[in-house]
């Protein structure tokens, strides 16, 4: 078999892109390698390989930065927010895309406003107080759902256009009720866009710093980004632990991203194009 060699242009292109990739990969390497150094070596902030690998940095930072509690809080906050966003956005998009009347246009206007209007955070304090949700994870879950869901409704709406209405009609003729139609037939067909929305929303909520800073900044409700912020303020000179902390809060999303990243483009092809 004759081996096909790459054309000259491709080799140049790949070389240039590889050089540019270093701008991304070197910082990632910097995080990883410094998280394994001794405090003295890490404080040089360099790329050199450590003289001895300090794997215990990870367990140390878990203890010093009180990560187990924050980790649990972050998981609870992220999963409940994302679950509510996905299901409520898919249901809303189903009505908006399928139904063609004043209701669906009005809902669509609300979604569009939600994409542009910056959330009024300070008055949320009043709303949370009214429901006795100040300083609770549930309060921040609901804020995350309210402020981040419009993008999900919008993208789910775009995706639904590719699912033929004839499917609905056939199901209804076969005696399928509306809820069964949506949950058993339409929702499973929305799988690809749901994965896209899962990735985006879990990234936004897991990394959210602003809402937790405003509404959860005290006590036992703290999430990972906030503990990291406080930890850096207090132990900023312990660079090895700071880098270990970065790695711990970034790893879950990076893992999800590398396994599910091909869905990002699929979801965007459905949505972003129509602007």
């Amino acid at each position: 078999m004759k081996s096909r060699s790459l054309p000259y242009g491709q080799i140049v292109l790949i070389a240039v892109l590889s050089a540019l990739s270093l701008l991304i990969l070197v910082p990632f390497y910097l995080i990883f390698i410094n998280s394994l150094k001794s405090p003295a070596e890490a404080s040089e902030l360099g790329l050199a390989f450590p003289s001895k690998l300090e794997w215990s940095n990870y367990s140390k930072v878990f203890e010093v930065a009180d990560l187990p509690l924050a980790f649990t809080n972050s998981v609870v906050l992220t999963f409940s927010s994302v679950a509510i966003i996905l299901i409520s956005a898919a249901m809303a998009a189903f009505v908006i895309q399928r139904r063609k009347d004043g209701w669906s246009s009005a809902l669509n206007v609300l979604v569009m406003l939600g994409l542009v209007v910056p959330p009024a955070i300070v008055p949320l304090y009043k709303v949370l107080s009214f429901f006795h949700l100040n300083g609770t994870i549930l309060g921040v879950v609901l804020i995350n759902v309210a402020t981040r869901s419009p993008l999900s409704v919008f993208l789910a709406n775009q995706f639904l256009k590719s699912i033929s209405k004839e499917i609905d009609e056939a199901a209804i003729i076969d005696g399928c009720g509306k809820y069964k139609l949506f949950f058993r037939i339409v929702l499973p067909l929305m799988g690809p866009i749901m994965v896209t929305l899962f990735i985006f929303n879990s990234t936004f909520v897991w990394n959210d710093f602003m809402y937790v800073l405003y509404f959860l900044s005290s006590g036992k409700q703290m999430t990972l980004p906030l503990t990291m912020y406080l930890f850096t303020g207090q132990f900023g000179s312990m660079w090895n632990l700071v880098f270990a902390n970065i790695l711990i809060i970034s790893a879950p999303l990076l893992i999800i991203y590398f396994f599910a990243q091909r869905f990002i483009i699929a979801g965007m092809t459905a949505g972003a194009i129509k602007g």
Partner: protein, 289 residues
């Protein structure tokens, strides 16, 4: 519309979303039109007319924050869109495009707190990797005090945000490029169109709505930037990297709720005005292209 259709696509499907969105998004937005005009602290809110706005506009930090927000927004739109468009064109022609796309997108999943701390290390004036690399290749004059020099810091923050988000904008461009029919390109080649002509008359017009989406997205994100600035510099040194949202948070943290609401209302007006204006401008341009 048929009765059956109205029954099948029942409004009840939208109710969970509508409830949460109504109570935790629409309601506070409406509240802000009242509380911005009150002297509201932790305990009570008394109507105070325009005094919050007068105080805001007379605050010298507000003008700094406004100027920084403008610089940040304009530069970040230009750089994010230019860099991601160039990368998209490169990836479009590259056989290993999926591999590089995965790499370029990956910073987007990092949190700003992680990125802020990371770049504090990278941009350290003496021992940071960035300045060491610049000195090593003889560009000593570029080895700046990135996050410390008062005239430099806002530009460094733009750079960090472009580093994080270029891959996201790239993904939007790539998604749009995948919708260009390949026979369109082939027939253009047969008609003798060179690479520049193909870009100018096929690719770029086909990318128009992705381009617009990217500009609008970068505009809104730029005007409401908070996390990056707050965790990386806290608005400092002094107030030299203060932006509107960090100023508002600081007023909130001091218990000046009415004043902070007025600040949010100002941001609200700026975002709506500029987004609508930009949208109109882009739609007009799209027709011309």
């Amino acid at each position: 519309m048929h009765k059956l259709e109205r029954k099948t696509y029942s409004i009840s499907f939208a109710i969970p979303w509508l409830l949460i969105y109504g109570i935790f998004f629409v309601l506070p937005t409406l509240f802000s039109f009242y509380y911005a005009f009150t002297d509201w602290d932790l305990t009570s809110a008394k109507f105070s007319g325009f005094s919050n706005f007068v105080e805001m506009f007379n605050n010298p930090v507000f003008s700094t924050a406004l100027a920084n927000t403008a610089i940040f927004t304009i530069l970040s739109i230009i750089l994010k869109v230019a860099v991601s468009l160039a990368l998209a064109m490169a990836l479009y022609h590259c056989v290993a495009s999926n591999f590089f796309r995965t790499i370029f997108f990956s910073p987007y999943v990092l949190s700003y707190i992680a990125i802020g701390v990371l770049f504090t290390a990278i941009m350290h004036p003496e021992i940071g990797v960035l300045n060491k690399a610049l000195r090593a290749i003889g560009l000593d004059f570029l080895a700046l005090n990135w996050l410390i020099e008062k005239g430099q810091v806002i530009y460094s923050l733009v750079f960090i945000d472009v580093w994080k988000s270029a891959g996201f904008h790239l993904a939007i461009f790539i998604a749009a490029l995948q919708t260009i029919p390949s026979d369109m390109m082939e027939s253009a080649s047969i008609d003798g169109a060179g690479p520049w002509k193909k870009f100018r008359y096929i690719t770029f017009p086909m990318l128009a709505s992705a381009f617009n989406a990217n500009v609008i997205f970068a505009l809104i994100v730029g005007l409401t930037k908070f996390d990056l600035v707050f965790v990386t510099t806290g608005g400092g040194p002094g107030y030299y990297s203060e932006v509107l949202k960090t100023l508002v948070y600081k007023q909130f943290a001091m218990g000046r709720y009415g004043l902070a609401t007025a600040g949010e209302l100002i941001i609200f007006v700026i975002v709506i005005t500029l987004t609508v204006t930009m949208r109109k401008f882009l739609d007009k341009r799209e027709v011309e292209v």
